[in-house]
């Protein structure tokens, strides 16, 4: 999953879209996925996610993201199969309704996660923060908290990789099944937590030193007017949510 949430440079119409419209589109795809009960519509949402990735010039990244989410989706699918008892038995403990519900749940999870990750990969965090403050009138403190949280994800992933390298060089063998990996990774939360706390503390002090509290709504020099692609995107948002509720 490394690098999948990081911004990818580009000049596609998705890159140029208003950051708030991109956020709205991602949230609407997400909402439509949760509102819909149709397997076909959920599959269509997944296709829309991939199409958005392709339009943003990050189709490869979208496929890698899909592959990563498929693993988690598969786990959800199996768990749902194990615990869903209603419906006609198909084989062993698996019922027809269980299989359908499990497939919907897995697809819903993937279709809902993908647009948010793609939005982060196609929108500069700074632009998202500024647009939230300037256009949506979100207080800067909250917008900054959101952007800081997003910025720290790849940092933490890179730190975790560093921690795992350091432990491997001490003799920890990470090869093996997922259970072994989880057992070995748990003690590594200690160094990761310590590094993260120190980093966040350092960032907070640096922000204060640079006049964090002085920043207001008018401080951003960039404006985020609606472009030609924004209105069709907003219409797509409404259509997706409506279709999600209907299906």
């Amino acid at each position: 999953m490394k690098g999948l949430l990081e911004y990818t440079e580009g000049n596609t119409f998705i890159h140029r879209m208003n950051p708030l419209v991109k956020l709205l589109l991602a949230l609407c795809v997400c909402a439509a996925a949760f509102a819909s009960d149709s397997l076909a519509f959920l599959a269509a949402l997944l296709a829309i996610d991939l199409a958005l990735g392709a339009a943003g010039g990050v189709f490869g990244k979208a496929l890698r993201l899909l592959a990563g989410l498929l693993k988690a989706g598969l786990l959800l699918f199996v768990l749902q199969l194990l615990f869903f008892r209603e419906g006609r038995p198909l084989f062993l403990f698996v019922t027809d309704e269980g299989a359908l519900t499990a497939a919907k749940l897995a697809l819903r999870f993937i279709a809902a996660c993908m647009p948010l990750a793609l939005m982060l990969g196609l929108t500069r965090t700074g632009d998202l923060t500024n647009a939230l403050v300037k256009t949506a009138h979100v207080p800067y403190k909250y917008a900054f908290t959101l952007s800081a949280a997003i910025r720290f994800i790849p940092l933490f992933m890179s730190e975790m990789e560093g921690v795992m390298e350091a432990q491997a060089s001490r003799g920890v063998d990470f090869d093996g099944g997922p259970l072994k990996k989880i057992r070995l990774a748990l003690p590594l939360c200690v160094p990761l937590l310590m590094i993260s706390v120190r980093k966040i503390d350092g960032s907070a002090v640096a922000a204060e030193a640079r006049g964090f509290n002085l920043r207001g709504r008018a401080s951003g020099y960039k404006d985020y007017p609606l472009g030609t692609a924004d209105l069709p995107a907003a219409a797509l948002c409404a259509a997706l949510v409506a279709l999600g509720i209907i299906t």
């Binding site: 200690v190 160094p191 310590m194 590094i195």
Partner: protein, 268 residues
């Protein structure tokens, strides 16, 4: 002890980090790997420790091909001190931290206790103290101590003195020197040329992933071409002796420079 033969490595989505690199480091040597930021030094260290595998060429460490050997297996013979000690420390007390690496090597309890007590004594640590309550320099020494406790044959240090004050820097380096004097091979990445001059006997200079100079550290520091190409600046005493010219060729320390000046005055 360490042999790289025509090694190439590139990170995904970027240029070659290491290109056609070959060198050998013999048992008991104390070598420094020098070069500007992005020259490929850390990649070389990771290649030797098996953390990254060469795209082509071979890396042999203590007779083991790193491509065919797990890092956890190499760790029995190679100790790696990272620049950030917090990545290495993962236990709640100094004692547990020192014992962790030994437990991974499968030593019996008595041997672990004996080595832990010895290391605590040698480094002057309080075994019951929480590692994260130690200062940055002390945490660096703890990370080093936990590696030294395992008595590695090869020690790799990635910028071990960055961010340390002079006293802590010397304490860390003296511990490394002691390990080297006991027979361990040391390869150190360092940007502090004074430290390199004081401790390393050999220097390998990298630039853009290629080896551009290899030889005695003192000789390398006097090679203006290699130093300039790698954006390095020789230690101040070396710079001064270079300016002074003939008769000062061997003066790389304060003592040697003073001796050369006395000799010159006598001659005059």
């Amino acid at each position: 002890m360490i042999r790289l033969e025509r090694v190439c490595y590139r990170y995904e989505g970027s240029g070659a980090a290491v290109e056609d690199l070959s060198f050998e480091i013999n048992r008991g040597e104390f070598a420094a790997l020098l070069g500007e930021n992005g020259a490929g030094k850390s990649t070389v260290a990771k290649l030797i420790d098996g953390l990254v595998k060469p795209a082509s060429g071979t890396v042999t460490v203590a007779g083991l091909d790193t491509r065919k050997t797990k890092t956890s297996e190499l760790a029995k013979r190679v100790g790696f001190l990272f620049q950030n000690p917090d990545r290495q420390i993962c236990k709640n007390t100094v004692r547990e931290e020192l014992a962790f690496g030994l437990e991974l090597r499968g030593l019996d309890r008595a041997a672990i206790d004996e080595r832990v007590e010895r290391t605590l004594r040698d480094f002057g640590f309080d075994g019951e103290r929480g590692p994260f309550t130690l200062s940055r320099g002390e945490r660096q020494r703890l990370a080093l101590a936990s590696i030294i406790a395992a008595e590695p044959e090869i020690m790799i240090l990635d910028e071990p003195t960055t961010g340390l004050d002079y006293r802590e820097c010397m304490r860390v380096m003296e511990a490394v020197k002691g390990l080297n004097e006991n027979g361990a091979t040391v390869l150190m990445i360092c940007h502090d040329m004074e430290v390199v001059l004081d401790f390393a006997r050999r220097a390998l200079v990298l630039s853009k992933g290629r080896l551009i100079a290899d030889g005695a550290a003192r000789r390398i520091f006097r090679s203006a071409c290699a130093m300039e190409k790698a954006s390095l600046s020789p230690p101040q005493i070396t710079q001064l002796s270079l300016r002074l010219g003939a008769g000062f060729e061997e003066a790389d320390t304060v003592g040697e420079l003073a001796e050369a000046i006395v000799k010159r005055r006598r001659a005059v």
